[in-house]
Amino acid sequence: MRSRAVMTGLALAVLVASPSALAESRPDAVETCLGCHGIKGYKNVYPTYHVPKLGGQHAQYITDALRAYASGDRPHGTMHANAATLSEDEIQAIAAWFEEQGR
């Protein structure tokens, strides 16, 4: 009974700790993304439009987008070059990090 209480306490502690731990640790792979997606008002050229905001975007949508850029299904030179070098783990980490921002 006592050990059960300890286990419950431990589980609660993990639950409480994990969101902040996720928010604090920025994956290395995100650094490259922030060169464009981390600058307010930054613009793509030819054609000219703002580089999209990703803070608070659904992680699933971001992973779908990165895979589509990597395969070439979604056309964009710079995004293809960046996405094609990412591992599946990096894609997941990037997507989770952006989703966490702006929430």
């Binding site: 922030l34 600058i39 307010k40 439009y49 703002h50 580089v51 999209p52 659904h58 949508y61 056309p75």
Partner: protein, 111 residues
């Protein structure tokens, strides 16, 4: 302020508004009315009703215009989006982009 100056300033303001319209600035109120079909997946609040449907709320309007035009031209192939965008005019696209861009949502993450 003299009367002629008032007239001049009003004319200038009107010209600026016309120029903004010509540059494709959409009307968020019209966009809201046109967004009913979009809401089924993207939500009336633009937050997306499922994880694979992107959040549109707060996105840059010119990016949304770019994305919609890519879907419309087929440059960006997407079986879900294609049927919804094929009949949109440039004005429809500008209005929808202005509407979703006006909602509270996406952020630029702090570095």
């Amino acid at each position: 302020m003299s009367r002629s100056r008032t007239v001049f300033m009003s004319a200038f303001a009107a010209a600026a508004l016309l120029a903004a319209g010509a540059a494709g600035a959409g009307n968020p109120e019209l966009g809201r009315a046109k967004s009913a079909p979009c809401a089924a997946c993207h939500g009336q609040d633009g937050l997306g009703t499922a994880p694979n449907f992107p959040v549109l709320a707060g996105q840059y309007a010119d990016y949304l215009v770019h994305a919609l035009k890519q879907y419309r031209s087929g440059e960006r192939e997407n079986a879900l989006m294609a049927p919804w965008v094929s009949d949109l005019s440039d004005a429809d696209i500008a209005d929808l982009a202005a509407y979703y861009s006006s909602l509270k949502g996406l952020q630029v993450p702090k570095r």
